[in-house]
């Protein structure tokens, strides 16, 4: 399935801006599925530069399209990092490069993947460039959520959100890796596509799902047991940060389930609200580099307090 079929609306919209020459200087693409966001980004770059484009749609066959796809095109500057953040030095280097004239195409593109990784100073350094680029430069920022990007950046870019759609490519891929249909539904509803980009086997996923589910239940019925379970069952199950991320996302999904079920019962709802908030706080701590063990144990302690009062 091609990206145009997956995201017909946004691609049509973008194609139209190209044919009517209303392409703006900076875009922010958001969507819960990062792989898909990236493919839309690449598609848009191809659309901008393809010499054989028809009505704003790139041919995807020609040398230009192929090279953009393979990240071999000299007038596209990609900023991406495996590290936790994109720093101000990366932006400076990019700005230096973008001050120079283009090589092959008529303009240049700055592509920033995972724009939420921009540090505040990096984002600030980008601001002036977004306001007033020298020459013909289009900036393309890709991110998971708009709110993770500085408001000052948001106000300088056109924000386009991808429609939620089933990523069939990923589903086929996952089925091959031994995921059950049941798992796939959870993945789709809980937007776990990004976490799964890094090859997690079907068995591992099942295990993590199991761990997350039991722990969330334990937290409700027996918080002290949950406290112990952090070191006895959770820690042995997760091997790296990616799996931790997946585990937390799964827990988030179960907490939201819990909220949904409690919606009619006033007392239960109160409790579910509080515990979910406490969980979101724990997740925030984890993002800020508190260890998984510490954040979850604190959560369990908070749960004991909550159940005492309840």
């Amino acid at each position: 399935m091609t990206i145009v079929q997956e995201q017909p609306q946004i691609t049509a919209e973008l194609a139209k801006t190209i044919t009517t020459q209303h392409v703006v200087h900076a875009y922010l693409f958001t969507g819960s599925n990062q792989a898909q966001v990236q493919r839309v980004g690449i598609w848009f770059m191809q659309a901008l530069f393809c010499p054989h484009a028809k009505e704003g749609y790139p041919c995807l066959q020609c040398n230009f399209c192929q090279r953009i796809q393979n990240n071999d095109f000299p007038d596209v500057l990609t900023l991406a990092t495996d590290k936790k953040s994109l720093g101000v030095d990366d932006i400076r280097e990019a700005k230096r490069e973008l001050e120079q004239t283009s090589v092959e195409a008529s303009g240049r593109i700055l592509l920033i993947k995972q724009a939420e990784k921009l540090t505040t100073s990096a984002a600030n350094s980008l601001l002036k460039f977004l306001e007033d680029p020298v020459g013909k430069v289009t900036a393309l920022l890709l991110t998971k959520s708009v709110i993770a990007v500085l408001p000052t950046i948001q106000s300088r870019v056109q924000i386009l959100s991808l429609a939620d759609s089933v990523d069939t490519n990923l589903q086929v891929d996952l089925q091959e890796k031994g995921y059950s249909d049941n798992d796939l539904t959870i993945i789709q509803q809980a937007h776990l596509e990004d976490e799964l980009m890094a090859n997690i086997a079907g068995d591992k996923f099942k295990q993590l799902k199991q761990v997350a589910q039991t722990w969330v239940q334990q937290l409700a019925h027996n918080p002290w047991q949950a406290f112990i379970a952090v070191s006895t069952t959770i820690l042995p199950a997760v091997e790296n940060r990616l799996q931790q991320q997946l585990l937390l996302s799964l827990m988030e999904w179960y907490f939201s389930q819990q909220l949904n079920q409690a919606v009619d019962d006033h007392v239960k709802l109160q409790w579910a609200k509080q515990i979910t908030m406490a969980f979101l706080h724990a997740k925030q701590l984890w993002t800020a580099n508190v260890s998984l063990q510490n954040s979850l144990e604190q959560l369990a302690l908070q749960a004991t307090n909550l159940s005492k009062r309840g």
Partner: protein, 379 residues
């Protein structure tokens, strides 16, 4: 594609191309070196997007011992390819591209098989119109770059100042570089047979690389300029550079036309004095030396001081001295670099006031070479 070539000759020819290839690039294919074989010879290309260098090895030059079996193109990982060629045992080597971009390099009893990349993915070098109407001698170009480029800004906050501003009108090429604290301007002669005037800004880094390529070369260099590239052509080599976008600030009005105090120095001895004074100024926080001119006593004194270390005072030998008394402070490093650019010659230094920039010109070439240094306010 398959050919055999003399190894030493090949190494010599690709040394320039290697300059353009950077290991830091984010575009994977640019870590490679492109070889393109036609019936006429072998074209070798390297690029880091900012600059691209292309060289041609002709089949008609017997020294190259180039034998072509069949034509084609390939991109090979530059770092390994270079090392491999250098370490091959034989006088000649044979390069053969078999299927899937696999490349066999054979020399003597050694055989390497290297995974290449598809040459179609390599960036196309721009077609800069070569009308052969603009040319300059290598010597002149080297001088121009040497004498100006050090003044270009090294900071990125005003990117346009990191370049050398080139203005060509009629037979005159004017190069200016400034980092807003000092400025160097040089005028040289070009052969311009077109009616076009040009006004472009070339990144300083590109010109430094170009200068390295031009060492020991005294031929005539053809220059072609397009909207976004400049091309230098010499000895079967093409050197492309991108230009900087934006408008260079007007620098003409910065250069003063009149002066109140005039001094003449021997550039070399002044350089030595400044180096001595800067020993102490470097130790202080603001890196400033003071020059006191007393015309009646015909005494010129240079002071350097560091509150922690101590002071230095030196009476300078002047060749000539006229105008009004003056005390002026400035950054000695700017003067040092300016004097290094002059080499061994007599220079004229002209001051207007303690807060106005002063100029330095060589006595024998006053019109064509000017350096400007902004003083520092110390009171």
């Amino acid at each position: 594609m398959k050919f055999t070539i003399n190894r030493n000759q090949f190494i010599k020819k690709i040394s320039n191309v290697q300059r353009a290839i950077s290991t830091k690039t984010t575009i994977p294919i640019l870590t490679g070196i492109k070889l393109e074989l036609s019936q006429e010879g072998l074209t070798i290309t390297g690029s880091d997007v900012d600059i691209s260098i292309q060289t041609f090895i002709s089949v008609s030059d017997a020294d190259n011992e180039l034998h072509i079996e069949n034509t084609g193109a390939i991109v090979l990982p530059a770092r390994f390819f270079n090392e491999i060629i250098k370490k091959l045992p034989g006088e000649q080597f044979t390069l053969n591209v078999v299927e899937n971009n696999q490349t066999i390099i054979k020399s003597g009893k050694t055989e390497f098989t290297i995974n290449g990349l598809d040459a179609n993915s390599y960036p196309r070098l721009p077609e800069v119109e070569s009308n052969e109407k603009l040319s300059i001698s290598a010597e002149m170009l080297r001088q121009l770059v040497d004498e100006t480029v050090f003044s270009a800004s090294k900071q990125e906050n005003r990117p346009i100042l990191t370049g050398l501003h080139l203005k060509i009108s009629a037979e005159k090429l004017l190069g200016v570089a400034t980092d807003s604290h000092r400025l160097a301007q040089r005028i040289v002669k070009v052969n311009n047979q077109s009616d076009n005037d040009y006004d472009i800004v070339v990144p300083a880094r590109s010109l430094k690389e170009l200068e390295h390529c031009l060492i020991e070369d005294n031929s005539e260099i053809k220059i072609s300029i397009s909207e976004n590239q400049i091309l230098f052509e010499f000895q079967n080599t093409l050197f492309y550079s991108r230009l900087l976008e934006g408008n260079y600030p007007g620098t003409d009005r910065l250069i003063p036309t009149s002066s109140d105090t005039q001094l003449t120095f021997d550039a070399k001895s002044l350089l030595q004095s400044v180096e001595r004074a800067s020993l102490l100024s470097h130790a202080s926080r603001n890196n400033v030396v003071r020059l006191a001119i007393d015309v009646n006593a015909s005494k010129v004194t240079l002071y350097g001081n560091s509150p922690e270390v101590g002071t230095v005072e030196e009476n300078l030998t002047t060749e000539a001295l006229s105008g009004a008394d003056l005390e002026i402070s400035f950054n000695p490093d700017y003067l040092k670099e300016a004097l290094q650019a002059f080499g061994d010659t007599k220079i004229e230094v002209e001051f207007t006031s303690a807060l106005h920039p002063f100029t330095l010109k060589p006595s024998d070439n006053k019109e064509n070479f000017i350096q400007l240094i902004t003083p520092v306010r110390t009171f």
